[in-house]
Amino acid sequence: MSTLPDAHDVAAVAPPTPSAGPSLSMTADKAREVTSRVQAWMSHNVMGRDDVIELVLIALFGDGHVLLEDYPGSGKTTLANALGNAIDDDGHAEDKLPEFRRMQFTPDLLPSDITGVMMFDLESNTFHFRRGPVFAYVVLVDEINRTTPKVQASLLEAMAEKQVTVDNETHQLDDLFFVIATQNPLDAVGTYPLPLAQLDRFLFKIKMRHIARDAELEVLASWGKPRKATDLPKASRSEILATRRFIREEIVVSPHIHVALVDIARALRADKRVIQGVSTRSLVLAIPALQTLALLRGRDYVSPEDISDLAVPLWQHRMELVPGIDDASLVISDCIKPPLEALSRATLRG
């Protein structure tokens, strides 16, 4: 049921990408093949989390970061590790970056612990920048709310700007830099909750639920058995970047979609249950995510269905609700209906 135009059509209009990274000609099929390789890696390693895997995949190719709200021991690290393993460094960088790093945030952490420090080199009598753990493709930040706002802020700069500044010296992070942060929804004692402005920098907040019974049984059954992960093909860094560019440039976002997004944002701001509505940045961030989902669904255009599916993870953490209203998803599902209805009507107009 794919209605994607023939591959050569898309290839014909796809412009060359000479600017950043290696030039790699991309087609829709190729792009989806890249995404499916990453997805296969994660699905192979994480069981019963297909929904989360898809969202993480969307965030990765939509150039965003995700915040997982989850209980301990639910497979976050496994998931992040699998993602890191799925990426293959094809040796573009002058010095090799690790695919995956994991940071456990604690109250005594310092910003330099994550960004890196200037170290004095006795041999050359100069300071050298020693990279911190953020210099990786995929970074898992465990319990992001357990550290001080200072550390949080430095991480957030890295996430938003893809750079770190140490001693007034700016160091670029890799283009692929992708953060999976986690926080425990219940154990809030001694934490520094992220303010709304910082939460806004995450593309998705994913509330994970316990996996299904069969999946849990499968986890137990397969535990301890060696995984033959190496069989699976990896996706190289340059392929992922090229796919990102392809998605940005080739998946059509109709003006109708823009209208619907703005109308949804306005409806969310006007809703009586909402104190602070969603930001304009969230709409900007939403577009690549919607495009990625469209690609995953085999389309070359963003459809109302994409908005309907991504609305809750996109916006649920960006709003402050009136005390007494707990479930942002209900508010969102109410507010997206009229704009999406208008969008549906627009598609039936000649």
Binding site: M1, H256, S303, E305, D309, L330, L348
Partner: protein, 746 residues
């Protein structure tokens, strides 16, 4: 690789579905108790005049039972459709059984007449009422909206009962009105106050859980229903009742009246000359024992509907029933020998004789035609018609309980000034000697001629030979010298006319008419006495209906003028002991008039104002409008269905999907609010699997890079064939007939 399901992502976005509450809380016992009391009061109040004691007991039992059973059924979770169907079916069954018991002879034989009536009443007021009340109560518990029906039931019963009291018809319940009257209070006020109180109580009781606006709206609605009931009963029930009251007769009394009339006919020498008495006097009857109706309230005897505006020259309209021209020793008597210009038989529609025409006598140069419709209320042996009736044609009787006869009349009434009639002889040349003698015969008493000679002696020499002027002089004399009274009847005299004319000059219309006729005749003026009704229209307001009371009975002279015809020549005595004429009951007049006009033909077929309100026109307009809407709907439907075949290629992704969705909507498959197109397509995949592809084509065309029109129309054909394969032909047929399915396409 695109098989990722959306379930995981959308789970959070779906609205929480609330399960239907397993237990169904009903209203509190106290509320139910109060409602029960109110229903008992209102319904028993309404039913009390309608049924027997047994029926009342059955009704009370049924009301209580309905409340209890409905509450039980509701709390036990009976389904609403089942309750409604059960209640209505029970009701209908009880009603049918009640009719059966009442009408079936063998059952009556078994139970006895009284037993059958009681059983029928119990079935109707127990069983049928139980079914209806059960349904209403059940609905009222399941939905707040339905409590309005309860309130309306109360309002209906109260209004129904009190509507009997309009027109001061103090029927039921007597105990209120009698009490009020005996204490000198207008019972209308008391009853209206009670009605308003009960209605407000009902509204407060049933509407208290609602907001202000809703309460006001409900109140308005209830008032509209109340007024509707009032008006409905006005048409259907009260009018005949009011009518009999207006006549002072019930139907039984009327038939008694007829009996007594026939008895009177049997006793042939009753002197019943007045038209209200009915049987015109035969030969030998004296006209003077006028049987005046001395009761306080005059009886209406006829309604006359004027087709055109007509105003009588002197303000008095003469409706003639009979003429008396044959001289009979002391007075004039009816005789059919020569008065062929007077119609004395009713036109019979049934016998097929059709219109009855009079012998031509009135010259149209001096007369104009006035068409009227007459509806007789009292029995008359001859038709009553506006002078001078030339043709009578039968009409359908609009209400045989009220009217004894109905016919259309064409009358020739004198037009223009009296002066035009001057200079003509009274007796035309073509009259035979017998006829001449017939109309000129006078008593063998020289005083008549002597008196008339004295009167005409002083006439202006120019008019000395003019017979009309002579008649006018005689008329003036009688008017100036005569004294109108009903107290002196002169019936003991051998010649009452002479006794009146040469004696006291005190008498009533018969005396005046005969005196004038004999004086005219003694001067060679052909004359006769007409009997009927003279209605003074100066004291009535406008309106094309005229109500004739029995008190308007009158006798007046007519004179003949050659070349013109018979001319009404009434005497208006200047002195009178009569009280001012009875004020016409406007309400009764218009009411009877309207009743008369219900006659579908009514003799008014050529009247542009046939119906006061164009119900039929409105009905046809509505039907026409609905038909037009239907045609437009089908037009839009067909246009949308055929658009994919010849629409432009650029819009094919729209036309095809729209046509496909229309088909689904026709058979009731529609997208829900908030459901995306893709999800809808997935939902109906069992019926039309290709709809998903068509939806994608549409979205791609609208939101993406566009689609291939040929491919789109191929998918559309696939959807169409799937639709044909998977939807039952009967459902498809109904869908094709559905004119508004497209309106539900979203």
């Amino acid at each position: 690789m695109t098989a990722t399901t959306a379930n995981g992502l959308t789970g959070g976005a779906d609205p929480q579905r609330t399960d239907d509450a397993a237990k169904r809380p009903s209203e509190s016992r106290a509320v139910m108790g109060v409602k029960l009391l109110m229903a008992l009061a209102a319904l028993l109040f309404m039913l009390r005049p309608l049924t027997t004691t047994a029926g009342l007991v059955a009704a009370a039992t049924a009301i209580v039972a309905a409340f209890v059973v409905a509450r039980w059924a509701y709390t036990r979770g009976m389904r609403q459709p089942a309750a409604v169907v059960g209640g209505v079916a029970f009701s209908g069954l009880a009603w049918l059984l009640s009719n059966l018991v009442r009408d079936a002879g063998w059952l009556a034989g078994l139970l006895g007449v009284e037993g059958a009536i009681i059983a029928s009443d119990v079935l109707l007021f127990g069983g049928a009422l139980f079914g209806v009340l059960f349904t209403i109560r059940f609905l009222a518990q399941s939905g707040r909206l339905f409590t309005v029906i309860e309130a309306l039931l109360i309002v209906f019963s109260v209004v129904y009962t009190f509507s009997d009291h309009r027109h001061l018809r103090l029927n039921q319940p007597r105990f209120f009105s009698d009490w009020a009257l005996s204490n000198g209070i207008d019972p209308t006020v008391v009853l209206m106050g009670m009605g308003v109180t009960i209605m407000l109580l009902a509204l407060v009781m049933f509407m208290r859980r609602q907001g202000g606006l809703k309460a006001i709206l409900s109140m308005l609605f209830a008032i509209i229903v109340g007024v509707g009931v009032y008006l409905y009963i006005d048409d259907d029930k009260v009018q005949p009742a009011v009518l009999t009251n207006g006549l002072g007769l019930t139907s039984d009394e009327q038939s008694d009246n007829k009996d007594s009339q026939s008895n009177n006919d049997g006793q042939s020498d009753q002197n019943n000359d007045g038209p209200s008495g009915g049987n015109g006097g035969g030969d030998g009857d004296s006209p003077y024992k006028q049987n005046y109706d001395n009761s306080d309230k005059p009886k209406p005897v006829a309604v006359v509907a004027f087709h055109d505006d007509y105003e009588a020259p002197e303000g008095i309209l003469y409706f003639r029933q009979q003429v008396k021209s044959k001289f009979n020793e002391t007075h004039l008597a009816a005789d059919g020998t020569y008065d062929h210009d007077v119609i004395d038989v009713f036109p019979q529609a049934a016998s097929g004789s059709g219109p009855v025409a009079a012998a031509p006598s009135q010259n149209l140069d001096f007369h104009k035609k006035v068409p009227t419709s007459v509806y007789l209320i009292a029995q008359h042996p001859q038709p009553v018609a506006l002078t001078h009736a030339t043709e009578l044609k039968p009409l359908d009787n609009p209400n045989s309980r009220v009217f004894t006869a109905a016919y259309g009349v064409t009358s020739h009434v004198l037009a223009g000034d009296m002066r035009r009639l001057l200079g003509r002889p009274s007796v035309p040349d073509e009259w035979t000697d017998e006829q001449r003698a017939h109309y000129l015969a006078v008593p063998d008493d020289p005083r008549y001629e002597a008196l008339s000679d004295i009167l005409v002696r002083d006439l202006d020499p120019r008019f000395r030979d003019d017979q009309l002027m002579k008649a006018l002089v005689i008329k003036r004399y009688l008017e100036k010298e005569g004294y109108y009274t009903r107290t002196e009847t002169h019936t003991d005299e051998s010649d009452p006319t002479a006794s009146f004319l040469f004696g006291s000059l005190r008498g009533y219309c018969v005396h005046f008419a005969h005196s004038a006729a004999f004086l005219f005749r003694s001067q060679g003026i052909a004359s006769r006495v007409a009997v009927g009704y003279a209605v003074d229209t100066r004291k009535r307001s406008g309106g094309s209906n005229l109500l004739i009371y029995g008190s308007a009975a009158h006798a007046w002279p007519e004179i003949h003028i050659a070349g013109v015809g018979w001319v009404t020549f009434d005497i208006y005595p200047e002195q009178s002991d009569e009280p001012p004429t009875q004020v016409v009951d406007q309400d009764l007049e218009s009411l009877l008039g309207e009743m008369a006009r219900e006659d579908p033909t009514g003799g008014r077929a050529d009247d542009p104002n046939k119906s006061p309100f164009p119900w039929l026109t409105i009905l046809w307009s509505i039907i026409g409008l609905l038909g037009l809407l239907l045609l437009t709907s089908y037009g839009i439907k067909i246009w949308r269905r055929l658009k994919p075949r010849f629409g432009s290629d650029s819009g094919s992704h729209v036309w095809t999907l729209r046509a496909a969705l229309d088909r689904l909507a026709d058979v009731g498959i529609t997208r829900e609010h908030g459901e995306t197109r893709e999800r809808f397509a997935a939902r109906v995949a069992e019926t039309t699997p290709s709809l998903a592809a068509l939806t994608s084509a549409n979205l791609s065309g609208a939101l993406g890079r566009g689609t291939d029109p040929r491919e789109t129309s191929r998918i559309y054909d696939a959807v169409s064939s799937e639709f044909r394969d998977n939807v039952h032909w009967f459902r498809r047929l109904l869908g094709n007939l559905n004119p508004i399915g497209w309106a539900f396409t979203r």
